[in-house]
């Protein structure tokens, strides 16, 4: 075994342990903030696996998008709305947990079986390595143009939806004529609608 192979083997072991341990922690820990931070760790170790597969560009993109943007936004969301409240303990909560566990184990078994039984067509080509960036770019603008553009349209839709929701002009928090039940309210101060605030300031001036 050469030095490079040994390093790769050890790195693979560490990365797999980090990915699996982190992923289990995300699911099993009670504290949602820990889960969110561990999710960032899982994404980072997955980008390490991409580096081992000679896919440097994908690894950097994984860090940029999933660690730098997705995890940070999840954390942002948690920290803006998180208010520590004692949960009222539910009776027979273990039924739900056992059912969830059963479904997860079943899914895992199903996926393992299909992974092991599928005759994978493993490519014998040499990984493109450094030239991967060029290859990805060419694919984006030729045969994968439609999915690429559709994904960008999807993001645009999400962007516009978020702005509409945040401005609160078209969708009032509470429908007129019916009081919202307390259980459905977010633990934050009720805010006035943007439109009503602006109309008040108009009459003031």
């Amino acid at each position: 075994m050469t030095l490079a192979e040994g390093v790769q083997l050890v790195a693979f072991g560490i990365l797999v342990a980090m990915t699996l341990g982190g992923a289990l922690g995300v699911v099993l820990l009670d504290n949602i903030v820990y889960s969110a931070f561990l999710l960032g760790g899982v994404f980072t170790s997955m980008s390490g696996l991409y580096i081992l597969l000679n896919a440097g560009f994908v690894a950097a993109a994984q860090v940029l998008v999933y660690v730098g943007a997705v995890s940070v936004l999840i954390l942002f969301g948690i920290m803006l709305v998180n208010k520590e409240q004692p949960f009222t303990p539910m009776k027979q909560a273990w039924v739900g947990k056992v059912a969830t566990g059963g479904v997860c184990v079943g899914l895992f078994a199903l996926l393992t079986a299909s992974t092991l039984n599928t005759p994978w067509a493993i490519s014998t080509e040499v990984p493109s390595g450094e030239m991967a960036t060029v290859a990805i770019g060419i694919h984006f603008f030729t045969d994968y143009l439609l999915p690429f553009e559709l994904a960008s349209v999807l993001l645009l839709i999400a962007l516009i939806g978020a702005i509409v929701l945040a401005r609160r002009e078209f969708i009032p928090d509470v429908a007129p004529g019916e009081a919202e039940s307390e259980a459905l309210q977010l633990p934050e101060r009720p805010r006035e609608l943007v439109s009503s605030v602006s109309s008040v300031s108009d009459t003031d001036s």
């Binding site: 931070f37 940029l64 940070v72 942002f76 960036t133």
Partner: protein
């Protein structure tokens, strides 16, 4: 890849001649450049802190540090020793694990980014294909550490500072990445070595700053915002947030934030000098001068001179930019958080998009000047 000195090759060859197997010689070489760069980055903190103190003193008509070493050059060492000996306090209701991890996550990506900073044709730890993109990706990790330390301190000012840091970092990453993209468009490569080589040959006239003036300004502003330097130091705005996410930190954990911010400043200055100021290229091209006096480029003494001149040029450019950053810090007022976000999203982002489109158009129109 034949020009310049191949330090790795000669080192490995020397060890193989001494009777070591080639693999062992390579393994002995591997840690050397990393250690050298780590030491260089650490020394750069001392220089930058000293510059910061002296320049701020000059801006305020004071003398500044004077007694610690000649001209106060050892002041940073005194600061560091003080931080090491301070008691390491974790607040009683803080989250001890996250509180300890936070500063480390802020510092590690900054040091990792030195992987791609070239000081010469072969004077770089790795010349990887994704180069500058790796730096953008790594710099996006820091806000996680800031959020972590802000949250775990269990202090509302810390949390606000952490959230502000994350918001600021996410907003200014986009114009910065677009500015880098315009440079990449001209050099046809993400590798930092290729980006510098594309600017070489014409001395100071070939540098990207003449072809990307808007990109240079956008990148510099965004880099200052990413480093949380005034006028963008809102995450630690003393008058509003005590000290932001670092309020509860003492001792070496605070020292890590301090180290991280100064190393990040030097790193950003290095990246600006690589992207826009020609990296290790001198204002007057050395190879042109050599051909003028009739010396071959492969002459050993010329290569040594070129390499050392390259390192000096890179550092000189970076420290000139650090000087500007320090001067900005002590002469500019801080902007408000809403102004900061407005400026990032409503001004820098559209301008950088236009810059990118203009660069693409110019590349199609004048492939000679804009790297066809």
């Amino acid at each position: 890849m034949t020009q310049g000195i191949d330090l790795q090759g000669s080192f490995v060859n020397a060890l193989v001649d001494l009777g070591l197997p080639a693999g062992a010689a390579k393994a002995l070489w591997l840690p050397l450049p990393m250690v050298v760069i780590l030491i260089g980055a650490t020394v750069s903190i001392f220089v930058t802190v000293w510059l910061e103190r002296k320049i701020s003193a000059a801006a305020q008509q004071r003398i500044g540090p004077e007694f610690a070493g000649p001209l106060g050059t050892l002041q940073a060492a005194a600061d560091g020793i003080k931080l090491i000996f301070k008691e390491d306090i974790t607040p009683a209701k803080a989250d001890p694990i996250l509180f300890t991890l936070g500063p480390a996550i802020v510092v590690i990506p900054v040091f990792l980014s030195y992987l791609i900073v070239p000081f010469g044709q072969n004077l770089v730890i790795t010349d990887i294909g994704v180069g500058i993109f790796l730096w953008i990706a790594l710099s996006s990790i820091a806000p996680i550490g800031l959020l972590m330390s802000g949250y775990s301190s269990n202090n509302k000012y810390s949390l606000l500072g952490g959230l502000r840091a994350a918001a600021q970092s996410i907003s200014y990453e986009i114009p910065m990445a677009l500015a880098v993209l315009a440079v990449v468009l001209m050099s046809n490569s993400l590798s930092t070595i290729d980006i510098v080589n594309q600017q070489s040959g014409y001395g100071i006239l070939g540098w990207n700053i003449w072809r990307q003036p808007a990109g240079f300004l956008i990148f510099w502003i965004a880099a200052l915002a990413e480093c949380e330097r005034l006028p963008f130091d809102l995450p630690e705005a003393e008058e509003e947030l005590v000290a932001g996410y670092q309020t509860e930190y003492t001792g070496m954990k605070f020292g890590l934030f301090y180290v991280g911010s100064y190393v990040n400043l030097v790193l950003s200055a290095l990246i600006v000098s690589i992207l826009y100021l020609g990296g290790w290229e001198s204002p007057i091209s050395v190879s042109w001068l050599a051909s003028l006096i009739g010396v071959s480029e492969t002459t050993p003494w010329l290569q040594v001179i070129t390499a050392s001149l390259g390192i000096m040029m890179t550092l000189f450019k970076a420290y000139a930019l650090v000087f500007i950053a320090v001067l900005l810090r002590w002469t500019m007022p801080r902007i408000r958080i809403d102004q900061l976000l407005d400026f990032g999203w409503k001004f820098l982002l559209p301008v950088s998009l236009v810059n990118l489109l203009l660069t693409a158009a110019l590349k199609l129109a004048f492939p000679v000047a804009f790297g066809g």
